[in-house]
């Protein structure tokens, strides 16, 4: 329990330092772009595939229960609610946590234990700004983009399925899909995306940046980065849903 509060404290300090570094110049624009590219290129393929499969499978599995009521025309709106409100942010976040979070943890961890971070610091570069801030910014701002991709691909998967089974036209599908979606849903998902991305970045960087005990510490950092960010993502998901529902 002692270490728990110590961790909370040091994570808070870590986050505070992030904001201090992120909003003070000089800005590492090039490195941010580089990290954005890494986040995007690492997860795009898997996220697209998962989005497509999620859309198709969710549509397929929802059809029987709606067909019982003769309401399979509700499929698009049902899938839209599920994908846009919940599945796209959550699935994307979990994948990015697994792919990018672990990578950040391992990369920074190995840089830490092989003194690369110290080397950077003594050669006149602020490693927190250069390594940590850029990564957190990259995950935070790439996540909404990735979630939009996932949502889009997921809906396309759903459309494919609905088109083949109910021969619904694309405009009709879009109309039906958007009929149950409101702006709040989009904003909520984007807000979720930002907080999930921030969580993944902070968890990965914190674990990596504070890695210890050689190569063993690197593995531990990568592992903890994923586990902690997944836990936090679930907690955030539940919290944000509660908040949004109270606004709705």
């Amino acid at each position: 329990m002692d270490t728990f509060f110590v961790d909370i404290y040091s994570v808070s300090i870590f986050i505070l330092q992030f904001f201090k570094e992120a909003f003070s110049g000089p800005f590492e624009f090039k490195e941010i772009v580089n990290q954005c590219y890494k986040v995007g290129s690492k997860s795009l393929a898997l996220v697209s595939l998962t989005g497509l499969v999620t859309g198709i499978v969710f549509t397929t599995q929802s059809r029987p229960s709606l067909s019982v009521f003769g309401a399979s025309s509700w499929l698009p709106s049902l899938v839209a609610i599920a994908v846009i409100r919940a599945l796209a942010p959550l699935v994307t976040a979990l994948i990015v946590a697994g792919k990018v979070g672990s990578n950040i943890g391992a990369e920074l961890g190995s840089m830490k234990v092989t003194e690369q971070i110290d080397a950077m610091e003594v050669s006149g570069t602020n490693p927190f700004k250069f390594l940590v801030a850029t990564r957190i910014i990259a995950t935070t701002f790439m996540m909404p983009v990735l979630i939009l991709y996932t949502g889009f691909v997921g809906m396309m998967g759903s459309f494919l399925n609905v088109y083949m089974n109910e021969s619904t036209s694309f405009p009709a599908f879009i109309k039906s899909a958007f009929s149950s979606i409101v702006f709040l849903d989009i904003y909520a998902s984007l807000f979720k995306a930002l907080s999930f991305g921030f969580t993944i970045g902070v968890a990965g960087c914190y674990q990596g940046y504070n890695a210890q005990n050689g190569t063993q510490g690197v593995g531990r950092a990568a592992n903890l980065a994923v586990v902690i960010s997944m836990y936090l993502i679930f907690i955030e998901e539940i919290t944000i849903v509660q908040i949004i529902n109270s606004i709705r």
Binding site: V33, S41, A71, L148, G151, V182, L190
Partner: protein
């Protein structure tokens, strides 16, 4: 190396651009669908019961979405104030005496407000005005109506069942007519007999005509004087009595003639149909009960029609009817 880096920046740029594009398209599609960017004006309505209407619910005019419910609040006891934002475009189609009712876009779908009716001469509604309301058909009402219809249907089918049972078991005239072959034979015999009777009667009447003419001739001869019988006949008393008997005889012939005519038409009617249904038409009791049955059937079919109409608007079954219609077209 430089090229690669630029390439990377471009890729990230494209990636983010496409992401933003998806976002923009989503927002505009949603905006278009929700008509967020259309100009609206405020109209209020006071309902006793909004049946679970929620803010954000749609407002329909002639089946077209023209606005959304912005706020639902209690005004006083049994009064719920519904504030609606209606597109300015639709303003001219809503008249001062138009009414609002709570409807539904499906049996378990969202509650909506339906605006309907009104006369153009009253002019269109202004912002902040209050619409008259009618408490619409709720789901429970619909189900209640359906319940009554079901009971009627049940009664009708029970009636039918007992009728058909009776007919089948040969009870009543209709049953007997339909089921007993001997009656048909008898009827046939009767007709033949009637025919022969009529023929006989014709002969009788011919004969009686002859008798009458004979008598007339005889009486004429009698009227001539110088005949032995004349004297006898000249006795006026006797003449009168003979005359009287002759008249009566003539009357009787007329009756016989009439009877024969009646019989002839009756037999013709019977001859028209190859079975005994013709007779049924002349049986007032059967006809009355038949009439009643038909009336009941008519009433129930009208009820059924109503139910079907209601069901057609039911969201869950709409698809079935659409399919049916499509099938018809094919």
């Amino acid at each position: 190396m430089k090229l690669f880096e630029n390439n990377q920046t471009v890729k990230v740029g494209i990636f983010i651009f496409i992401g933003l594009l998806i976002l923009m398209v989503t927002i505009f599609t949603l905006g278009g669908q929700k008509k967020t960017f259309a100009k609206t004006f405020v109209v209020n309505a006071f309902f006793k019961d909004v049946s679970g209407l929620q803010s954000g619910g749609n407002i329909w005019l002639s089946g077209v979405k023209i606005g959304t419910v912005k706020k639902i609040s209690f005004q006083s006891d049994y009064q719920v104030k519904v504030t609606m934002h209606i597109e300015t475009e639709a303003q001219k189609y809503i008249h001062k005496d138009s009414k609002a009712k709570i409807g539904s876009d499906g049996l378990i779908g969202n509650k909506i407000i339906i605006i309907y009716g009104g006369t153009p001469t009253t002019g269109h509604i202004e912002a902040e005005e209050v619409l008259a309301v009618e408490n619409g058909l709720s789901t429970e009402d619909m189900l209640a109506t359906l319940q009554v219809s079901n009971k009627n249907l049940e009664a009708i089918t029970t009636d039918f069942k007992s009728i058909s049972k009776k007919i089948d078991s040969g009870e009543g005239t209709l049953g007997a007519l339909l089921n007993d072959p001997s009656i048909a034979v008898k009827l046939n015999e009767t007709m033949v007999e009637l025919q022969s009777t009529v023929a006989n009667l014709k002969v009788v009447s011919e004969n009686s005509k002859k008798v009458v003419s004979n008598i007339q001739e005889f009486s004429g001869k009698l009227n001539k004087p110088g005949n032995a019988i004349n004297d006898f006949v000249a006795d006026t008393l006797m003449y009168a009595s003979v005359n009287k008997s002759l008249n009566e005889l003539q009357k009787a012939t007329g009756f016989v003639n009439k009877f024969a005519g009646n019989l002839s038409t009756a037999s013709e009617k019977l001859n028209d149909k190859d079975n005994a249904v013709g007779l049924l038409l002349n049986d007032p009791a059967s006809a009355a009960s038949m009439k009643n049955t038909l009336k009941n059937l008519e009433y129930s079919s009208a009820k059924l029609d109503e139910n079907l109409e209601a069901l057609q608007h039911n969201f869950l079954l709409r698809r079935y009817f659409k399919k049916k219609e499509k099938g018809k077209l094919d």
